[in-house]
């Protein structure tokens, strides 16, 4: 009891977060922030404290609360996006409210009329997190939005939120339920009418019942064939147009043959047909697709709204720089965008020369110049001097995700990957082999029994309809992607898993990838630096997002003010050159600044050299800390892969890294971004699958070119839409296990393919003889589909438990 009491004393009555030492109070309740207290106050005054009875501490913290201006909602055009109905008396509006999470939320939101007399009714759709409000047209839409904001449920007001919803929530599509319902209805009834056939009840299978059952089956199968199964035909046809045989092609072929053959059997009176199999297959495949869509829907929801990306931005607050998660950026925040960093949300240029590269958005990489006061759109990348911007539209996580999913310049790569994906490769061979077997069987019977030849040909195509094949890949990979996401390894799509499993060569970038950017020791060797020098160095390094620049910048006390550069240029792989009035400084590699390299003796470290007006002053010696478990990670990877280091820095740390990477030829230093890309290309020409792990900024080209590009993310805005996966630096040590898990997932798929081939062989044995009975088909096909789904689900579960259970720390 004691314990709970202290807990109650320190947590906020509204949201349950820990209160500061001196909590704000109202009556006898304690609150963590002013926002939470205000919400309580409002509710208390309206006698709505039921809110707090339904759940303990149901609120959302109001600490991050901001003053969004909702006035723009009253604009005629804008309001149309949200208003679903309006007349002289009332307005109906639907808002998307991500903060909704429990029954208290529902209660409060459905009792809005008690907070505001002009609200008539409000209704929650919890699954969609939508709130429909009917209110008097005497008040403005923005008043409603403000009211929601005041009680802690700000509506999500991205202008395209309505369009977004339709594709994101595909799995709630009503037509899917219609298709499923109809398929199930037909499946059940056809099965029932086929019972006499299954049991060979002659008195029933003789005419006229036989004909009646047959005709009824035919009637029942028509909606399944032409409505429920329509998407398989559409998809197969699309594949044919693009001259590829996708997985839906053999499925569509199988269904079509099944339907034609059964209709023929029924109307010619030669048999009872396979309508039962047809209906059950279509039903099961629809269930499979629905589940798959649901999984993907949930995944994309997690990605968009649960701060999926560990991306952070630099916030400027009273001249201080602060790293905050990109999602916490508010309208009006001032952000610092360094060279090569991404603009997270639409913003106005406030300070500096902006050259914005919109290649991630438009594919056009020529930078666009922007002048002060102009709007820069989200997704652009700053090239050159650091700029300051003021955010005018909140950062939308979903926009960044979308950018990542559908970046224009990478399209070729994913398209090509899709064609080479496991299931499509298998299905191409599969279709070919099946057609050969079918024709073979037909030719064999043609000599003796021409009726049987047709029978055999169609039977083969029916029995081999690869529904089990089609289900296994999405189920396995979708599941695997979800598990990896939980472990902070975020994949762009499921194809990445297949590629990851094939990895031959692992390339590591050095700085920022295998070193921790936060922890480094810095020392200056050379002439003593004046405060003016330090000022110049801090200003120059502060403009750059390069990990070494960040280290130098962070190590110079912030009391030293920064200056504005007249010109600033960062040459990747070399350094920074910046000019102020008559002074020009250079900060970068030794070769670039001194023109040659000193003779080094023994111990060498990473160095950043400094020269002012052509006069060499000395260098910073940086000893970086490697990530924990780096040794384990590399040793582990070396067991099965070739591991190489490609670094843009000098070879100062060669000696320390040598024991890790083994041979000297595995370590390449002084690599420009272009050389990195060339190396990836060269390895790929040797038919190797390359996994590139970089920090996402200086090696974007290589990340894009490699088969799998992983960007390791720490506390800096270095998310590059060019990568295939984002690895939170916390999970860096798990990398080898992620690769192993991908392999296991692919093995599960292969095994399930094997399993379904066995079923197919059994079926084929009946089919080629030309005596596939409807009963065999009706039993074999659904069993194969269901058992494959069960197999993949259990298989992935076992693999994840086996691979992720033991920890490195305990095992080593």
């Amino acid at each position: 009891m004691e314990e709970t009491k202290t807990l109650q004393e320190t947590t906020c009555f509204h949201c349950g977060e820990l209160c500061p030492d001196k909590p704000l109070t109202l009556e006898d309740k304690k609150f963590c922030c002013e926002g939470c207290r205000t919400v309580y106050d409002i509710l208390n005054k309206s006698g709505m404290c039921d809110y707090y009875d339904l759940n303990e501490r149901p609120g959302q913290t109001q600490k991050k609360s901001n003053t969004v201006r909702y006035e723009f909602l009253d604009d005629e055009e804008t309001s149309k996006k949200f208003i679903t109905f309006r007349d002289a008396d009332q307005i109906h509006v639907t808002f998307y409210i991500p903060a909704m999470h429990c029954s208290s939320c529902i209660w409060l939101l459905e009792n809005l009329n008690r907070l505001h007399p002009k609200v008539f009714r409000s209704r929650v759709n919890f699954i969609k997190k939508e709130l429909s409000i009917v209110f008097s047209s005497e008040i403005a839409l923005s008043d409603i939005a403000k009211l929601l904001d005041r009680v802690g449920y700000p509506p999500h007001l991205s202008l395209n939120s309505l369009e977004e919803k339709t594709d994101e929530r595909q799995y709630f599509n009503k037509s899917y339920f219609y298709k499923l319902g109809i398929a199930f209805f037909s499946f059940g009834n056809i099965m029932l009418l086929s019972f006499p056939d299954y049991f060979g009840i002659d008195s029933l299978t003789e005419s006229p019942y036989r004909n009646l059952f047959g005709y009824l089956n035919f009637l029942l199968a028509i909606p399944v064939m032409f409505y429920s199964a329509s998407e398989f035909f559409v998809s197969a046809w699309k594949g044919v147009i693009h001259k590829t045989l996708n997985m839906d092609f053999p499925i569509a072929l199988g269904i079509l043959i099944m339907f034609v053959r059964s209709s023929y059997d029924i109307f010619s009176g030669t048999g009872s047909g396979y309508m039962d199999t047809l209906a059950s297959l279509v039903f099961l495949m629809l269930v499979g697709r629905a589940l798959q869509n649901m999984t993907y829907g949930r995944l994309s929801f997690d990605r968009d709204y649960k701060s999926y990306f560990p991306v952070s931005v630099t916030l400027l607050e009273q001249g201080q720089e602060k790293n905050i998660p990109a999602t916490q950026v508010k309208v009006g925040s001032r952000l610092l965008i360094r060279n090569n960093e991404l603009i997270p949300g639409d913003a106005i240029l406030f300070k500096g020369d902006a050259h914005i590269d919109y290649s991630f958005v438009t594919g056009e990489s020529t930078p666009v110049d922007k002048t002060l006061g102009e709007i820069i759109f989200a997704g652009g990348k700053q090239i050159g001097n650091a700029i300051e911007v003021e955010v005018i539209k909140e950062v939308s996580q979903s926009y960044l995700t979308r950018l990542w999913n559908e970046d224009t310049f990478e399209k070729d790569k994913t398209e090509k990957d899709k064609l080479t994906s496991l299931s499509n490769r298998v299905s191409r061979w599969f279709t070919l082999i099946i057609l050969i077997i079918a024709s073979g069987a037909a030719l064999y019977w043609l000599r003796t029994d021409s009726a049987r030849a047709l029978h055999a040909f169609t039977s083969v195509l029916i029995i081999t309809c690869p529904c089990a094949l089609a289900l296994s890949t999405p189920f396995t990979l979708g599941n695997a992607m979800r598990i990896l996401g939980k472990m902070k390894f975020y994949l762009k799509n499921t194809i990445v898993i297949e590629k990851l499993a094939q990895t031959d060569v692992v390339l590591f970038d050095k700085t920022g990838t295998i070193t921790r950017s936060g922890a480094a020791r810095l020392k200056f060797e050379g002439e003593e630096l004046s405060d003016y020098d330090l000022q110049l160095i801090r200003s120059a390094s502060g403009n750059s997002a390069h990990p070494l620049s960040r280290i130098i910048h962070d190590n110079i006390p912030s009391s030293i003010s920064k200056i504005e550069w007249d010109t600033y240029e960062e040459i990747s792989g070399k350094g920074i050159i910046a000019k102020k009035l008559t002074d020009e400084i250079k900060l970068g590699s030794e070769e670039w600044i001194c023109g040659k390299k000193r003779n080094h003796d023994g111990l060498r470290t990473m160095e950043v050299h400094y020269a002012i007006n052509g006069q060499y002053k000395g260098y910073f010696r940086i000893r970086s800390e490697y990530r924990d478990d780096l040794k384990h990670v590399i040793q582990d990877l070396q067991l099965k892969h070739q591991v190489k280091l490609v670094s843009g820095d000098n070879d100062g740390e060669k000696q320390q890294l040598l024991p890790l990477f083994g041979k000297e030829e595995n370590m390449l230093f002084h690599q420009s971004p272009f050389e990195k890309l060339e190396l990836v290309k060269q390895l790929q020409d040797e038919h190797k699958t390359v996994l590139m792990i970089g920090d996402g900024l200086n090696d974007a080209g290589a990340l894009a070119k490699s088969n799998v590009g992983i960007s390791v993310s720490e506390n800096i805005n270095n998310f590059s839409p060019a990568c295939d996966a984002i690895l939170d630096s916390e999970s860096f040590s798990e990398l080898p296990r992620f690769i192993r898990f991908s392999k296991a997932a692919v093995n599960v798929i292969l095994m399930s393919f094997g399993l379904s081939f066995i079923y197919n062989l059994v079926g084929l044995w009946f089919a080629v003889q030309g005596n596939l009975s409807p009963l065999v088909a009706a039993i074999l096909m659904p069993i194969s589909s269901i058992s494959v789904i069960i197999f993949t689900t259990i298989g992935v579960g076992i693999a994840s438990r086996k691979i992720f259970k033991p920890n490195y720390k305990t095992s080593s």
Partner: protein, 64 residues
Amino acid sequence: MSALFIMIGASLIIAIGFLAAFLWAVRKGQYEDDYSPAVRILFDSELTSSKESKKESTNTTDDK
């Protein structure tokens, strides 16, 4: 045996009835939100109960 014709017809009609009911339910949006109705039904009774006594009971629980 001709009764079977009628029986089958009847069974199909019943089945179609259920299918129609299902399609109607989907169309009316009954499958869109399967969470809030379950919660909502509990609210109504709370709301009609007197606010005052409710409030007092909150205070007493919080005081201890």
